[in-house]
Amino acid sequence: MMIYDFFISIFHNELIAAFLNSIIPVAFIVPFALFAVYLERKVSAHMQDRLGPMRVGAHGWLQSFADILKLLQKEDIVAAKADKKLFNIAPVLTFVGCYAVFAVIPFSSAYIGANLDLGLLYIVAVSGFVVAGILMAGWGSNNKYSLFGAVRSAAQIVSYEIPTTLVIITIIIVTKSLNLYDLSVNQTSNMFNWMIFGGYVEGWHKIALIPFMFIGFIIIYISTLAEVNRTPFDIPEAESELVAGYHTEYSGMKFAMFFLAEYANMFAVSAIVSAIFLGGFQSPFGYLGSTLNLPWLIPIEQFFWFASKGIFFVFVQMWLRWTLPRLRVDQLMAMCWKYLIPIAVVNLLIVALIMVL
């Protein structure tokens, strides 16, 4: 049973049920962001042979809560020459763009915000609001570093959307569906039904698809990394050149909004990559719930696998951030237009050929 139907059965009102259904991801994102900030500091520290936060709580596990308390108490500063309307709307618009993606991500077989038939296209569509929000922040701050950061970031997101979309089209050719929920359900509990192992296609096609699925996976991982502005693609926030990019002028809760949006986005792209290629919420080993004959346990297990896969990819993003140096602007664009897009197009053509034969 879907959680939405459960809410309907309690309240007998579509509006209340839809509202409750739509705020469930918040209950996931906020604790996740707190955890991810802590994880980021610990991962970075251990990679640089440091200990990271140690004072607040055992091994510093309360550090994120302390940070949030600090942010809540900060004075809300709006720069004197800033465009106040745009400056205040921008963090909200950016977060809305990130949050809208969560509507079509299946958290488990019992929960998806909106079971859209065009889920994959919808994800491409709403990322436009993130671009608009970042540009708004950069312009509204009335600061050269913010504007540079915003324009760089928007150019980067718009460019890297092309390889992402090409890989998504490749997937659509294989699965003949754009529905992320169906995609996850069809990649059943056996690990070799995951898209990265050729998906649930039958016959020799499956074996022929495997290398091209790996290529697609690598391309979409690189380009989503660039879309969330993480190192090695973090020139929009390059500390050594641009202070902090588009959120230089923000402080207090508005800064926290951008921070939350960034971590939400990191999880969202990881979840999308795992939903497309790694079975989404499906377990690699089968379910304890079906072994013990406890059907209610299965959705909880699925949520566990979904969260683990997402957090694993977030960890890989952090790992890359503290391992690789930053790309220059020209290298960044060359990477996208001269390498990723041609490889993605050829990959698309080969997969289409395999599926036609």
């Binding site: 509006l15 065009l118 436009g128 671009v131 608009a132 540009l135 950069g138 718009v158 754009l178």
Partner: protein, 163 residues
């Protein structure tokens, strides 16, 4: 009044208010961001009409493409904030004649049309399948020609940018 009617009026209000702001705003950036809301409202209309694919394409093309391009154009233009944009009233007589004629045509076509409401589908079909099969069967030539047209536009843009 069902929720859908409410949503319709909400989207209509968004479209009208933001379109008014686009025209009257003295700041180009405000106009551009209001235009984003207008596009969003139109996408909402398409979604309410069950045209999910068109709604999403509206967002991809207009918000993700055209609006971003406009914002880039505005932000990379020198001294754009210093130029005053005139939003006063000019040429009242010719404007009112043209608006009167245009609204006359609109009102006539709206009142002469027989508005039929389609049967409500209990299980709406995925509109993408239908659009795809029509494009690939009946209108394949037009579809391919449009592709060639876009390619020509791209080549032209690249060759102008090189100069």
């Amino acid at each position: 009044m069902t929720y859908y009617t409410f949503a319709f009026y909400a989207f209509a209000a968004i479209i009208l208010l933001s379109a008014y702001a686009v025209v009257t705003s003295k700041n180009v950036i405000y106009s551009a961001f209001s235009l984003m809301l207008t596009f969003f409202g139109v996408a909402g209309f398409y979604a309410l009409l069950g045209a999910d694919f068109i709604a999403i394409v509206q967002l991809i093309v207009y918000v993700g493409g055209i609006l971003t391009l406009m914002l880039f154009g505005v932000m990379l233009t020198n001294k754009i904030t210093e130029t005053e944009i005139k939003t006063g009233v000019f040429q009242v007589l010719p404007a009112s004649i043209i608006i009167g004629m245009f609204s006359g045509v609109l009102i006539a076509s709206i009142s002469n049309n027989r508005w039929t409401v389609a049967e409500k589908l209990n299980n709406p079909q995925n509109s993408l399948v239908g659009i795809g099969s029509i494009l690939m069967n009946e209108y394949i030539l037009i579809f391919e020609l449009l592709g060639v047209l876009l390619l020509i536009a791209l080549i032209g843009a690249a060759s102008i940018a090189r100069k």
